[in-house]
């Protein structure tokens, strides 16, 4: 409770909880975080988790192998439902990948300092989620080996992509997002990599971390350049948070299909993405802080704040549902209205009601402060929201396609075992990458955490000027 002023800056939270536990010094922060990577004995649980997730990666490779050998027909897709799990998962993963950049870039620019302890692994999560997401549009192609035809590359036949198609925009949006997120994450890692380099005892550690640290010596010039680069990247990444999911939503809104063709999709997709992204951050952060004893760094305050973001974005999503319903009624369009009624009462009714339960009804529990501060409750709720958002994408993709304009062509879709295998496989890949990340890189930004300490406060510099860069110490 020492720094009430900073807490005030950091959030609208009136409860004045700290963003870092008491009793930490520069050294203790560095020790604690770097020890996970360098000195701690790797816990048994890590190996077990890695093995389990790796076996899921093997399922993924098996499922993808079969897919490539036989064709997308091993999935349950058909005519009329020509997009299934692949696109559902793509949108879901991209959505999850939103939280990282949001936390790193937007909250950085908005000076929300509580973000510091969660931004690193949220960014990593973003990268891995976008990797998972990126697999699906490739794999779902009928002929994945010619995926590069979606890029405008020079070729002798002078054939170029068809730029009216949102799928082409998607290619640019997602690849840009991935590149910028990767750079942002890596640039942010450099000072910490240098710390690891300096503290590493093994030769390999020194060499690898040293190479990755790119010669960081912590000089004032380094810090100056670093700060400019980081700020620029944050500025670059910020519009991307909004643009990626907007473009993803164009995949649907540009089509004429009832249930897709809707102008509310871009904001509602972005809100949904943040909603699910924060849910995923919680899903990962809560076990992480528990197993590695990081309660001091990822505090109840963080949980509380993230819960509030979820509540807010959840309400935007709920508003989106309401507006879709209203527009279907107000437009007087019989196809739209049938689509809405079909969601409520058609063969896929459990999906729609599931979405409402998971994304609208249950998140209202977050109004309760007690619940917002209960790690267990938030963990469970984050799982519920992740499920709900997956179902929402299923609702949009599959249920809309199943019954469109011509009743004679109506059909249904259900995932086959290979649909599930690929989905579970990407979950495994995601967790696998997270395990590797936690083990080999500092999951929490060391140098930024140090700025949160009272010692970092440069005396006399004004509260109003609390900059993201204030009091950066050099590496120890």
């Amino acid at each position: 409770m020492t720094k009430e002023d900073r807490s005030n800056v950091a959030s609208v939270d009136t409860t004045q909880m700290p963003v870092i536990g008491p009793g930490h010094s520069f050294a203790s922060v560095t020790d604690k975080i770097s020890s996970i990577v360098l000195t701690h004995r790797t816990p048994k649980g890590w190996f077990i988790g890695l093995a389990l997730s790796f076996s899921l990666v093997m399922i993924l490779s098996g499922a993808v192998g079969l897919l490539l050998v036989k064709g997308v027909g091993v999935w349950g897709i058909n005519i009329p439902v020509a997009w299934g799990f692949a696109i559902v998962n793509f949108v879901w993963w991209i959505g999850i990948g939103h939280a990282g950049t949001l936390i790193s870039a937007i909250l950085l620019l908005l000076n929300q300092r509580w973000r510091t302890s969660i931004n690193r692994f949220a960014e990593a999560m973003t990268l891995f989620a976008v990797m998972c997401a990126g697999m699906f549009p490739l794999l779902h192609l009928g002929r994945p080996w010619v995926f590069y035809w979606l890029f405008p590359y020079p070729n002798t036949m002078n054939v170029q992509p068809q730029f009216r198609s949102p799928l082409v925009w998607d290619v640019f949006a997602v690849s840009t997002y991935f590149m910028v997120s990767l750079l942002f994450w890596f640039v942010g890692l450099i000072p910490d990599l240098a710390t690891l380099r300096d503290r590493a005892r093994s030769l390999w550690g020194k060499v690898i971390y040293g190479a990755l640290a790119m010669g960081w010596r912590g000089s004032a010039r380094h810090w100056h350049r670093y700060e400019i680069a980081y700020l620029l990247l944050a500025g670059l990444a910020t519009p991307l948070v909004v643009s990626v999911h907007t473009v993803v939503s164009f995949d649907f809104t540009i089509a004429i299909l009832p249930g897709w063709h809707s102008t509310i999709f871009p904001p509602y997709f972005v809100a949904g993405a943040i909603f699910s992204g924060f849910a995923m951050v919680l899903t990962l952060a809560i076990p992480l802080r528990k197993f590695y004893g990081l309660e001091d760094f990822i505090t109840t305050r963080h949980l509380d704040n993230m819960a509030k973001v979820m509540l807010a974005t959840g309400l935007i999503v709920a508003y989106g549902y309401l507006m879709e319903f209203f527009m279907a009624w107000r437009s007087g369009n019989k196809f739209e209205w049938y689509m809405t009624m079909n969601r409520l009462r058609g063969p896929y009714w459990p999906v729609y009601w599931g979405v409402l339960l998971c994304n609208v009804a249950l998140p209202q529990l977050l109004w309760s402060r007690r619940l917002r501060r209960s790690a267990l409750a938030l963990f469970l709720l984050s799982l519920v929201i992740n499920t709900g958002m997956w179902l929402e994408r299923y609702l949009i993709v599959v249920v809309s396609l199943a019954r469109d304009f011509m009743p004679s062509a109506w059909g249904m879709y259900r995932g086959t075992v290979w649909d599930y295998a690929v989905f579970i496989g990407t979950l495994g890949f995601f967790v696998f990458m997270m395990f590797l990340f936690i083990r080999f890189l500092p999951a929490i930004s060391i140098f930024e955490m140090r700025t949160l300490l009272p010692e970092a406060e440069v005396k006399g510099e004004a509260k109003e000027g609390v900059k993201w860069k204030e009091g950066q110490p050099s590496t120890v």
Binding site: V69, G71, V81, G142, L150, V159, L257
Partner: protein, 1015 residues
């Protein structure tokens, strides 16, 4: 992969090669992934890894690699290569220009009745069947069965060798056997020789058989096929005291009553009848009159679906209904017993018929007992229709017999051991003879059994000799059409296997056993010619023969009209007829031939198996059809599986049908409009020995079909088993959900408001688009489909499949909702499920001017042509399937797996060389037969003119017996299609979405009887 791994591969490969010598299956439903990999391995010049070992190949490594490559190269040299003789023409045949198809006239028989065909032949291999426009039975439209017959020709499951007790024998061995039979039967004058054929109309074959019977006077010739016309024949005997062929003239009929007759979809002359009937329902130009069709039937047929008034009725009640009508229109001495419920209907119908004396027509279905046929004749007579809408000829069969009775007699003789030699020519009696005759069992008592058939089937299994039959596209023959017109059946290709025709088989027993089919048929007609036109011969015959072959039929061979006198007296009062006497709601069983695989003979034809049945849209299976009310009463239902849903897998309750002590298990299908308290089952399924495609599809309804109830019978017991069976359907949903998809009105409404189709959904203005409108400076292709003419027969679907190399996908994939047909016939019901109005709507690519598919393709694989086609560029398609998602018509089809069979050698010549054979992972769809458009454009350009109207006929258009589909250039305001599009009834499907479809529909108009409308 190391070299040692490759050695392991070689071993596996050799093993595969060894196994491949067996039967090559045409379309196994499991994917042949391992085979693919292997093929690729063989076809690549170097093993896969060779190109990837780029760095550091030392000398030893190089040698290892090279030796592996040589080993593989040697291996691919050892594969079984097809023996191909690539001898070029030293003197090229005059007519053959490589790449240009030739057309030959021939004819195909189903049930002995010919339909005239033109067969497209590419470099000597028949690929596509068209109708012969000059032939009276088709007037240019081929039937579904005929169009699918090319696949039948190239079917890899056809029997390929002559076998004796399973061992391969040469033809000469069989000739020896046949001569031995002839010698041994000589003494008894053939008392032990029986010839079993299907219905024969072929003059040359009849002549041969008669000569054989002259040689062996005690031998007998039996004709039998399960779908026969015994009832019609007996009905004629009852009415006129003699057999007669009946010919209907729908062009002259204003009011038509069908008594369980599906005259639009099966039976002799149905193509011609459809043409004449549909012509009287078209309202384009200044035509404002329509005929009116009443149908009384049990199971909803295409004819019933097209009707203006339809009454579902158990088949046994139709007799009493016919009596009531007969009494109503004043046929003398008819005894009536009719429940009062339909009295209004009957009264109105009778009045309508009487108001159209001489212009009305009453047709009895072949499935109805003779008395109904006799009543129909009497009614037509009373209405003065004889000589107007109905005429008579001598029967077209040379020897019409009561086929069921003849087979029963044969079975009795076999049982008694009086048959030494049974020669079965075509047909499959072991499978399809009435169950009570126990034909298969009794056949074992015959000493020598010989079977000629296309497949080594159930009958061949029980025969000593099996002779592969030559397909009609491989052999010479002749046959009569529904009106008696004779066609010479000329082959398009030499027999692919060692097939023999019926002519050659019968000749084997005579003196000229080495005579070829060609000589037999030609000599017969030569002799006819000589005897008919005494004096003229020789050169004259050559002219006659050439003309007959070129025309596809022999002029003036239609049987002359014959005067019949009605001798009908109703001395067979209703009570005596056991079947109509049953009044309690006991269940009745109704047997019908399958609309596509007929009596089972086409069961191995994948196109026909996968063709959705007109009303049920079932594929690959038959089912026990029942009405919704009966299903409810019996507690039977189905469940839509989420796998494919309404467009895929349906779990149906399985029931056991017990009839006359025999039982069969069948899945139940609830059919709106089916008559209550009866169950319709289709014949032809449940084959066990036909081939890889047909084996095991559906259940065998012959197992409960007896000779005394060939078409229907009361006393069916239905037991629910509690099991469920997965059926594959392409359209379960039959409700339009209030959308204006099929727009319809009554004739009165149409006259009052010709513009009725546009009242509810006006199309948006042309400029309502973000993008620039396209210009079409030269041609603008368009299509108009008259929903008033469409009878839902599916001929267009199979025509498209044949023309465009469309693969079949198998039941499993249909259940996934992945069938590949480029055109589908949507079927909608409207109103009371007990007796709904039914509409058909062929839906193909609408070729939108504002195409939703084009905008969303990321690689531009579907693009707009300068003539308004939405072109599909297969080799550019990456398979995102976005185009299909954005297509409101859902007419795009995707190759989810490798559906096309790239392996089976015999299927390769089947394909249309002008159309790309698509592989896995690409989207495809209707192209308006762009290959035909381009062929016509090239021709026109060479001749320095524009393409003429009607010069381009799309495959679906050419196949439509009702001429419901018209294609042409809409820039030419004088073209037929432009004129149809100017009709007030013309509307665009979902045009309110601003897709501006090039395919438009002429709204349906029904012509109900105003009296009944009000009631």
């Amino acid at each position: 992969m190391s070299v040692s791994d490759q050695k392991l591969d070689l071993a596996a490969v050799r093993q595969r090669l060894g196994a491949a010598r067996g039967k090559e299956y045409w379309r196994s439903l499991e994917e042949l992934a391992d085979t693919e990999g292997f093929r690729e391995l063989l076809h690549r010049e170097f093993p896969r890894q060779a190109s990837e070992w780029q760095d550091g190949i030392g000398r030893r490594r190089f040698l290892q690699l090279m030796s592996a490559s040589f080993a593989l190269a040697g291996l691919s040299a050892c594969t079984r290569q097809p023996t191909e003789q690539i001898v070029p023409y030293t003197h090229p045949p005059e007519a053959i220009v490589p790449g240009r198809p030739l057309f030959f006239a021939t004819a195909m028989m189903v049930g002995g009745i010919a339909e005239g065909l033109l067969v497209e032949s590419h470099e000597g291999r028949p690929t596509k069947i068209e109708g012969n426009p000059d032939h009276p039975a088709s007037l240019g439209a081929p039937s579904v069965a005929a169009q699918a017959s090319t696949l039948g020709l190239y079917d890899p499951d056809r029997s390929q060798t002559i076998t004796y007790l399973g061992d391969i024998r040469p033809w000469s061995a069989f000739l020896g056997e046949a001569q031995k039979v002839a010698a041994s039967q000589q003494a008894s004058k053939g008392a032990g020789l029986r010839l079993l054929t299907e219905t024969v109309t072929s003059p040359a074959l009849v002549n041969q058989i008669k000569m054989l019977l002259a040689q062996f006077p005690s031998a007998k010739w039996i004709q039998y096929e399960p779908v026969n016309r015994d009832n019609a024949r007996a009905g004629a005997m009852l009415a006129f005291g003699e057999d007669a062929g009946t010919i209907y003239h729908f062009d002259k009929a204003d009011v038509i009553l069908s008594l369980d007759a599906d005259f639009l979809d099966c039976g002799p002359g149905h193509l011609r009848y459809t043409r004449d009937f549909a012509a009287r329902r078209k309202l384009d130009g200044d035509r404002s009159e329509m005929n009116r069709l009443y149908v009384v039937e049990s199971s909803l047929s295409n004819t019933g679906a097209t009707a203006d008034h339809r009454l579902p009725m158990r088949p046994s009640r139709i007799e009493s209904f016919a009596r009531a009508i007969a009494a109503g229109i004043g046929v003398q001495g008819v005894k009536i017993e009719m429940e009062p419920s339909h009295s209004e209907w009957i009264a109105a119908l009778a009045r309508d018929l009487q108001q159209h004396r001489g212009r009305s027509l009453i047709i009895a279905g072949d499935y109805q007992p003779p008395i109904v046929h006799a009543l129909a004749h009497a009614m037509n007579h009373a209405l003065g229709n004889f000589g107007n809408t109905v005429t008579f000829t001598a029967p077209i069969e040379a020897e019409p017999t009561d086929q069921t009775a003849a087979l029963r007699e044969l079975a009795g003789e076999m049982e008694a051991g009086r048959v030494d030699t049974l020669v079965i020519i075509g047909g499959n009696p072991v499978y399809n003879a009435p169950a009570d005759l126990k034909f298969g069992e009794r056949m074992n008592k015959v000493k020598l059994r010989i079977h000629l058939g296309l497949h080594h089937d159930e009958t061949s299994d029980l025969c000593h000799w099996h002779i592969p039959e030559a397909h009609y596209l491989e052999a010479w023959s002749d046959a009569r059409a529904y009106d008696g017109t004779v066609s010479i059946i000329q082959p398009l290709i030499a027999p692919l296997y060692q097939g023999k025709s019926a002519h050659e088989l019968i000749a084997a027993f005579g003196n000229q056993s080495d005579k070829s089919g060609y000589e037999i048929v030609r000599d017969y007609w030569k002799s006819q010619r000589v005897s008919n036109t005494a004096g003229a011969a020789g050169g004259d015959f050559e002219q006659f023969w050439r003309k007959a072959l070129r025309d596809g039929f022999i002029e003036n061979t239609a049987l002359p009209a014959k005067q019949v006198t009605l001798k009908f007296a109703d001395n067979n009062p209703p009570a005596q007829n056991p079947q109509s006497a049953i009044r309690n709601p006991q269940l009745e069983i109704v047997f019908r031939p399958d609309p596509y695989i007929h009596d089972g003979r086409f069961a191995n034809n994948g196109w026909l198996q996968e063709l959705p049945r007109p009303i049920t849209k079932l594929t690959w299976d038959n089912a026990a059809l029942i009405s919704p009310a009966t299903a409810e009463r019996l507690g039977l239902a189905y469940e839509i599986s989420s796998r494919g849903g309404e467009h895929g897998q349906i779990f149906a309750d399985v029931v056991e049908l017990q009839f006359q002590g025999r039982a069969v298990r069948a899945p139940v299908w609830i059919m709106p409009g089916h008559a209550d308290d009866c169950v319709t089952v289709h014949l032809g399924f449940g084959r066990t020995r036909v081939g890889n495609t047909g084996n095991g599809a559906g259940f065998n309804a012959y197992t409960i079909r007896t000779s005394d109830a060939p078409w229907f019978g009361a006393g069916l017991n239905l037991r629910k088993t509690g099991e469920r069976y997965a059926l594959a359907t392409t359209q379960l949903h039959h409700n339009m959900e209030g959308r204006e998809l099929v727009r319809s009105a009554t004739l009165d409404e149409y006259r009052k408001q010709p513009n009725f189709a546009h009242e509810k959904e006006p199309a948006p203005a042309k400029d309502d688009t973000l993008y620039q409108n396209f210009e079409y400076p030269n041609y603008a292709w368009g299509m108009a489909i008259d929903l008033n003419a469409c009878t839902g027969c599916n001929a267009c679907v199979v025509a498209c499949q044949s023309e465009n190399n469309i693969p079949i996908v198998g039941k499993n994939e249909v259940m996934h909702g992945r069938e590949m047909h480029w055109i589908r016939i949507d079927r909608y019901h409207q109103g009371d499920p007990g007796n709904p109005n039914t509409f058909f709507q062929p839906v193909l690519c609408q070729q939108c001017e504002n195409a939703p598919c084009e905008e969303v393709c990321p690689v531009g694989a579907t693009a707009h042509s300068s003539e308004g086609l939405n072109d599909m560029v297969y080799n550019r398609c990456v398979g995102t399937r976005y185009c299909s998602n954005n297509c409101p018509y859902k007419v795009r089809r995707f190759n989810f797996l490798l559906f096309q069979d790239w392996e089976t050698p015999s299927l390769k010549p089947l394909r249309n060389p002008d159309v790309t054979v698509r592989s896995r992972g690409v989207m495809e769809k209707c192209s308006y037969c762009v290959q035909r458009i381009n062929a016509a454009k090239i021709q026109a350009e060479k001749e320095g003119r524009a393409v003429r109207d009607g010069e381009i006929v799309t495959a679906c258009q050419g196949a439509c017996p009702a001429e419901a589909i018209v294609f042409g250039n809409i820039n030419d305001k004088e073209s037929r299609v432009a004129k149809l599009k100017a009709e007030p009834r013309n509307y665009g499907l979902l045009a309110e979405l601003n897709t501006r479809p090039r395919t438009t529909y002429l709204a349906a108009v029904r012509n109900p009887n105003p009296e009944l409308e009000e009631a």
